[in-house]
């Protein structure tokens, strides 16, 4: 079916460099917020990050231990399924390669879990090889609670709901377990370049 032409519609052009914005997305300079419930506020002295599941034993870092790990500065374009994209965002975070270093597992999938009960599933291969981080800083400032602070996943090559806010750990799983949005109508993998927004895309 050819698209319906909207007579008189021009749209806004030229606000994005070609090749940077996936189909159906528009560039925003704001930083919109999408969350399914109230914003949790976990004090740092009660925060920890845990890797559990298909591992010999769970690995756990307190905030101080986590922040003592080597951190990286990341510049990335982010793409929210609600249609906005934000270019050249700057974060600091600990690479998942660093966190997973030395952990033996047969798992091929992961579920990130968060304060407030949020979960999202990501294949393990999408978290390794310099593609994913646990971020604690945005734009040079500590990550604000509304944007997922004290720490959130940063998996910029997938739609941003895969970058779990308020993340507290990763469960490594042998089978793929769809998370919160993935069981509520959203795509299981979420590649923005293939516009994998919803079930059936």
């Amino acid at each position: 079916m050819p698209p319906i032409i909207s007579r008189g519609f021009r749209g806004r052009r030229g606000d994005a460099p070609p090749g940077r914005v996936p189909p159906g997305q528009y560039v925003t300079r704001d930083f919109p917020v999408l969350s399914a419930g109230p914003t949790p506020h976990t004090p740092l002295d009660r925060w920890s990050f845990t890797i559990t599941g298909e591992v010999d034993e769970a690995h756990r870092w307190t905030w101080a231990e986590f922040r003592a790990l080597p951190a990286e500065e990341i510049s990335a374009d982010i793409h929210c399924v609600t249609k906005w994209s934000k270019l050249d965002t700057v974060w600091q975070g600990v690479g998942l390669d660093t966190l997973l270093d030395g952990i033996e597992t047969s798992a091929e999938y992961t579920v990130a879990f968060s304060d407030g009960g949020y979960t999202t599933n990501v294949p393990l291969a999408d978290l390794t090889g310099g593609k994913a981080w646990v971020a604690f800083s945005y734009g040079g400032e500590p990550l604000e609670p509304q944007h997922g602070g004290p720490a959130r996943m940063l998996v910029p090559h997938l739609y941003f709901w895969k970058s779990a806010k308020w993340v507290r750990g990763l469960r490594l799983t042998a089978v793929d377990e769809p998370g919160f949005w993935e069981t509520n109508g959203y795509h299981n993998y979420g590649n923005p370049w293939r516009e994998q927004r919803y079930w059936g895309d």
Partner: protein
């Protein structure tokens, strides 16, 4: 999920800045109150823009209504609110979302909306009315002024039979106004109720700072965070 052709069958001005556009979508699979759709516009040279809008209408055959605020410098909303006429066609796909939904016989909800955040909550209120439900339901709606209240007359008609509609007008009030005249806060939520002991299902929708403040106040009052469902739009602000 495939794009479908939607025929514009009506356009209604809700307030000076807000219009409801009524569509007939042949083959529409039906929707649940609280879900949204994606809308796609295509220019004559093939350029496309997409946005998401909540569905404001109760499930009703192939009818879908969207309530759209005209954003002055927006890309899509000025076209939807300014150009669309009955007989026009656009593309949409949906419905989307299985979380921010309510329908009878779920327990009576507490609905809290800021401005056009009332749209998905209106779908719930309309569904409740269409189903003949008298389940205890409260809507607290924050608007800037009397003329900015979306669905004002219809809400007045539906008020009663278990539905309580409470307005707060944050920027200007008509002469003789005796209702709330401030932003939604903890005291207001406590007065409007129901309290956490009644374990209502709470739905909050509006601009991000509004939803942040309301959700925080509800948690402060003792509502369980997992009973508070939120839908936010726009940036956090300053």
């Amino acid at each position: 999920m495939t794009w479908q052709v939607a025929d514009v069958v009506g356009v209604v001005a809700e307030t000076p800045h807000v219009k409801t556009i009524m569509f007939d979508v042949p083959g529409w699979p039906g929707h649940r109150a609280g879900q949204h759709v994606d809308v796609r516009l295509t220019a004559d040279d093939g350029y496309q823009a997409e946005r998401s809008y909540s569905i404001a209408s109760a499930p009703d055959g192939t009818r879908v209504e969207l309530t759209v605020v005209r954003i002055g410098d927006g890309e899509v909303s000025p076209y939807l609110t300014g150009q669309l006429r009955p007989g026009d066609q656009i593309e949409l796909r949906g419905p989307v979302g299985g979380y921010f939904v309510w329908e009878p016989p779920l327990g009576g909800p507490l609905l809290v909306a800021g401005g056009s955040g009332v749209a998905p909550l209106m779908a719930m209120i309309r569904l409740r009315a269409a189903a003949g439900s008298d389940v205890e339901t409260r809507l607290l709606l924050s608007s800037r002024g009397w003329d900015d209240i979306i669905y004002r007359d219809e809400l007045q008609r539906l008020n009663g039979n278990g539905l309580t509609v409470v307005h707060t007008l944050t920027a200007s009030q008509p002469p003789g106004w005796t209702g709330y005249a401030r932003r939604v806060d903890t005291d207001m939520l406590a007065e409007v109720g129901p309290g956490p002991a009644e374990r209502p299902r709470v739905y909050v929708c509006g601009p991000t700072p509004f939803v942040e403040a309301v959700a925080e106040a509800l948690v402060h009052l003792g509502h369980q965070p997992q009973h508070i469902k939120t839908e936010r739009f726009g940036p956090m602000g300053s």
